[in-house]
């Protein structure tokens, strides 16, 4: 589903953020990307989501080479992903309902069909009663859940989350991870970046793959059961 082959990413005027990274992620896997801050986790996720292109090496998403795609087709590749950003990137000028509506309107889905999907997504993250609330009035955990609702509303086959539990306390963090596990169980590929070396809040029943990064290099790729 996602294949990295000798991928190096260098930002102009700085060192290599990723060096010679190779791995494969299959359909329906739960993948943790771990490592200290600055190890290249965010860069890795951006490359996976076709937000950045590799400097060298190839990134294949559903057998499409991202480097070879025209920039006009990249947006369509990005739509396959549900993204949860480190800083949520919620829009504070509109209520929860309209925040979740954004990906659908980008896909050209409006009206009743959109309404049903938005409420279903809000229901899944238990925010249905807050659809009219403004994001600023939500707690940190609720904002994170809203961001997840926005990521899943267009039913992506891959869900990517960057530090989704970063600034949440343990109870909330476990709650969020539970949500991701639920998505993985219905066949969604879930990729989560986290800086705590495999949080104790991780669900033990679920088999997962771990990609551990250190200073831009993939030092460990293992399957934990």
């Amino acid at each position: 589903m996602i294949t990295f082959d000798n991928v190096t990413k260098r930002y102009p005027g700085s060192h290599e953020a990723l060096t010679n990274v190779s791995f494969t992620i299959n359909q329906g896997e739960l993948v943790y990307v771990t490592g200290h801050s600055g190890a290249g986790k965010s860069t890795l996720l951006k490359l996976m989501a076709a937000i950045e292109r590799p400097t060298t090496g190839t990134v294949l998403i559903n057998n499409q080479n991202v480097s070879k795609l025209k920039s006009g087709t990249l947006p369509y590749v990005r739509r396959k992903f549900g993204l949860v950003f480190q800083d949520h990137k919620l829009l504070y000028d509109r209520n929860c309902y309209h925040n979740v509506a954004l990906p659908l309107s980008i896909n050209g889905i409006t009206g009743q069909d959109a309404g049903k999907r938005i409420r279903a997504a809000l229901d899944k993250v238990r925010l249905l009663d807050k659809e009219k609330a403004m994001p600023i009035t939500l707690s940190g955990g609720e904002q994170q859940r809203l961001a997840i609702a926005r990521a899943v509303v267009s039913r992506p086959s891959i869900l990517i989350a960057d530090e989704p539990t970063g600034n949440l306390d343990k109870v909330y963090a476990a709650d969020i991870l539970q949500l991701f596990n639920a998505f993985q169980q219905v066949g969604v590929t879930v990729i989560i970046a986290t800086h705590d070396a495999l949080g104790n809040s991780q669900n033990e029943h679920v088999s997962s793959k771990i990609l551990h990064l250190n200073q831009g290099r993939l030092v460990k790729a293992e399957v934990a059961v």
Binding site: A49, I51, E52, R53, S71, G72, L74, P75, Y76, V77, R78, R79, F81, L83, F85, K89, L91, Y92, D93, L102, P103, S105, I106, N107, G108, T110
Partner: protein
Amino acid sequence: MKSWLTQHSQALKLVLSRFKANLLNTLFICLAIGVTLALPSIMYTVLSSLSGLANNVKSESQISVFLSADQAVDTATAIKAALEKNAEVKSFKFVAKEDALKQLETATANNNVLSSLEQNPLPDAFFITPKNLDAASIESLKNDLAKLEGIEEVVVDGAWIKRLNYLILIGQKAMVIITSLLGFALVAVIGNTIRMQILTQQAEIEVSQLIGATKSFIRRPFLYLGALYGLIGGLFALFITYAVISVFNQSLNTLSREYQTDFSINLPDITSGSVVCLLSLVVGLVSAYFAVSKSLFKNIN
């Protein structure tokens, strides 16, 4: 086709809802555009009315040739023959001095003055309609006629028309210059407004791009915004033009009645009205396009 329609109606709806949310701001921007456009539009209307007037009078333009008071009858016959030969002369009419005096008597009520005259002060005259009405050929015809024997004076009736035409020409040049300068101002105003709008929606634009919005999806509402600013501004400009010209026409009517004529400035008709709206719409669209291309995608691959 259906998705294309959905995309456009979606963008238009979005823009209209933003208009409603910032009604006062939107009105002020459109008013600024309207005022900017009203000036050239008023100038154009006034100038086209004036040149219509000038053309009207020009077609009746004549050259009057007055003969010297004391000359033999055959001088007039000789001139008549010369005029018939001249290719530049379309038609001419001879008015003998006796006839001219009679015409004057019927035209003026005050017969006492005329009858008190010892002799007829009027000369014999030819009234010539030239074939070509442009200034150069009239001038050369005038020179030719002046060379003929027994002619006292050649008067071109249209001299003031010529001056009016030059004035209109100057006015038109001024209009073109003012229009293009104001056009640039308009591009700057609309472009700046759109840029401000882009700034306030920076977060939305960023997120949209990250989750797969195409460039045209992001650009579209801003293009609609620019076009709508232009269109509404154009309507404001028409309204202002109507109001200003109506106000002036009242005074112009009173004035022209004093001169026994009936002159007023034509109000813009449907064609010129739609041209103003269409032009301002296009200006809005183009400036929005430039603003968007310049500031929207500079940091995206």
